[in-house]
């Protein structure tokens, strides 16, 4: 496990658990939750950031040393996402950005086409772009070619806590992509996060399941442990699942007898 490092945008990332900040009952919980989770990458919706507010500036709650990854929540097309990313950088949020383009208010499904367009523009401008998408292999390749630093497929629709419903598709991305695959959205419990890591995801991003929990700080740690366990299992190489027990060889046993 010693050399098992995740590198995104030229940076070594210590924790494979990324955290969202939008749903906490009190922003004061964020520093403690981030600390206990060990998370190093924290995403913040720029729409919520109020630089002018003395009481409620979201950015003040992100512990020092974290990479702030502003997200473009609220953007409905590539143009708006690009604008939000540029404003975020201008406000001093660094050059990481999670592109989130949603023009479907019912399921909050990401728009891959617009996301690819925005990635193309922002990567050229020097942003470290992490696009949130539906797990489609062709689109993931387009994103990589457009300069994405990672690809973030959804596990299930945002906020559903249903777990890794897109497993087959995410697994294909993991096998085929040469940039990190980070499962974002839909993970409802630590075991879901562990499952993502066990199949080889490079990291996971969790918000709802931690923020809405009765004890968000403890839940943040629980996710952190699950992510570590899942990753360790993946690196160790998991034993293959077997459908049948293999005590004897009733079908081919005769081969050795006849020899």
């Amino acid at each position: 496990m010693k050399n098992d490092v995740l590198v995104i945008g030229g940076k070594e990332i210590k924790s494979r658990l990324f955290i969202g900040t939008g749903k906490f009952s009190n922003n004061r919980l964020i520093p403690e939750a981030v600390k206990r989770s060990g998370a190093q990458v924290v995403t913040v919706a720029l729409r919520r950031v109020d630089i002018s507010s003395k009481q409620e500036n979201m950015l003040d709650f992100i512990p020092e040393g974290c990479i702030i990854m502003p997200n473009t929540s609220g953007a409905a097309n590539a143009g708006e996402a690009v604008r939000i990313a540029r404003i975020a950088r201008h406000l001093g949020c660094g050059n990481w950005v999670k592109i989130e383009i949603i023009s479907d208010a019912k399921y909050l499904m990401p728009d891959n086409y617009e996301t690819i367009k925005a990635t193309e523009i922002l990567a050229k401008e020097g942003f470290v772009v992490l696009p949130y998408v539906n797990p489609d292999l062709m689109d993931a390749r387009r994103l990589r070619d457009a300069g994405a630093a990672a690809v973030m497929p959804l596990g299930a629709p945002i906020g559903t806590n249903k777990g890794l419903k897109t497993k087959e598709l995410v697994q294909i991305l993991i096998e085929e992509m040469d940039i990190p695959v980070i499962v974002d959205a839909g993970l409802g419990k630590p075991s879901h996060a562990a499952e993502c890591m066990e199949i080889g995801a490079d990291a996971v991003l969790v918000n709802t399941a931690i923020a809405v929990s009765e004890d968000p700080v403890a839940m943040a740690e629980a996710f952190s442990l699950a992510v570590k366990a899942g990753r360790m299992a993946y690196v160790a190489g998991m034993a293959q699942e077997k459908i049948f027990a293999e005590a004897s060889s009733p079908l081919t046993g005769f081969l050795s007898k006849n020899e």
Binding site: A75, R86, K106
Partner: protein, 401 residues
């Protein structure tokens, strides 16, 4: 018992099949076509057929259909309100997080040519009318923003003479300087007029049908352009088509049978959400307040029934914003947090210039929760939720940066 006729069976089937309903919505020009399909008479029959099992089935489903929604609005649901509320809370927390967005209404003008029997701004009411001039509007904007409010709702009565579209556009531009998000609640406009308001910097539209029951609608709206039921009914759709980011609808609860009004409100939101998937469609649940001396509320809605409506809407439309204003009592507002509500007004005044006290004006109705913005903020924290003042920024939308 009356047996089901052809029409009624059709409605049953229509309600139970969400996919078919959605397809039928997509080929409609106006919500009026859907209303026509759900004739109120037949709706009454369907209501009469609902039993407790229907309610239990609705509670246990992951996604409910329109028939389940009706079951949740039926008298049988009252007994199970605690489990319905628990489900509504879970869905709300998951979709919106532990947060409540706050906004404040600002009345720009109370000139009105409509004669709505329940309203304080009724044109027959002999009151001194007021309108903020641009300078006063700016003072009002400064006053409200000093309280920490970042989202604002601008209101006027219906008067194209005193508060024309150009006036509203200018006011939007003024308020935009002080707020992250500006919405309007004014008389219904044409699509191209909504586009002008959006170009001026507004992003949200609130417009209530007031009464979905067409017959009752007529008896409340005696004179003025508001008499035109369908023109008002189509206004939210025109707002969606014009490019409003947030569209908020509602029935003024207390004017007609609430079960049917809530049914059509939910159906209207479902209609808009399906036709305009990129619009954030929300629902307000305004209970009518005593606004006029000689007007008695004909169909009062109890707290229990308000909760029933709110939780049923949450189960039907998991992602829809739900709005509760200061029409409601402080204690009730506190108790409603967690049951489905996502937006609340705070520090409200229903008088023109009421925040800066610039004018000697009358309120449209009496507000109930008179808490200050700070008190509302504290109250939300006490309930274990985060008050969110800023959830959008009008500078995030635009051509280039």
């Amino acid at each position: 018992m009356k047996t089901a006729g052809c029409e009624e069976i059709k409605i049953f089937e229509h309600m139970a099949n969400s996919v078919e309903l959605r397809r039928s919505i997509l080929c409609k020009e106006s919500f009026i076509d859907i209303i026509n399909e759900f004739d109120i008479k037949h709706l009454e029959y369907v209501f009469s057929q609902i039993n407790e099992d229907d309610v239990l089935r609705a509670i246990n489903k992951e996604k409910i259909n329109l028939y389940d929604y009706l079951a949740l609005l039926s008298p049988h649901a009252e007994k199970h309100i605690e489990s319905i509320a628990a489900k509504a809370k879970k869905i709300t927390d998951m979709n919106f997080g532990k947060v409540i967005s706050l906004y404040s209404p600002v009345y720009l003008s109370d000139y009105c040519i409509n004669q709505c029997v329940y309203c304080g701004f009724n044109c027959k009411n002999v009151i001194q009318r007021h309108k903020l001039n641009y300078e006063q509007a700016e003072i009002e904007a400064r006053e409200v923003s000093s309280k920490g409010i970042r989202h604002i709702l601008l209101l006027t009565g219906e008067s194209r003479m005193h508060s024309p579209v150009e006036y509203i556009e200018e006011c939007v531009r003024i308020f935009k300087k002080y707020f992250s998000s500006v919405s309007i609640e004014i008389y219904p406009l044409e699509t191209y007029e909504y586009k002008k308001i959006i170009a001026a910097g507004a992003e949200g539209l609130t417009i209530y049908q007031e009464v979905y029951d067409r017959h009752a609608y007529k008896t409340y709206h005696l004179n003025g352009p508001k008499k035109n039921y369908q023109y008002r009914l189509d206004a939210p759709e025109r707002g969606c088509a014009a490019g409003m980011r947030v569209v908020n609808i509602g029935a003024l609860l207390g004017l007609a049978d609430w079960r049917k009004e809530a049914f059509f409100t939910g159906l209207h939101a479902l209609y808009l959400q399906n036709k305009y998937p990129y619009v954030d469609v929300g629902i307000s649940l305004p209970r009518i307040r005593k606004q006029v001396e000689d007007f008695n509320i004909p169909c009062p809605v109890s707290d229990m029934h308000l909760v029933q409506i709110m939780t049923a809407i949450r189960l039907l439309l998991p992602r829809a914003g739900i709005n509760i204003s200061t029409r409601e009592r402080k204690e009730l507002r506190e108790n409603l947090i967690g049951l489905g509500v996502t937006r609340m007004s705070a520090g409200s005044s229903t008088r023109v210039g009421g925040h800066s006290n610039a004018l000697d004006s009358f309120g449209q109705f009496e507000i109930s929760d008179t808490s200050t913005v700070e008190e509302v903020r504290q109250m939300i924290y006490r309930k274990g939720y985060q008050p969110v003042f800023k959830d959008w920024d009008n500078f995030l939308q635009g051509e280039s940066f």
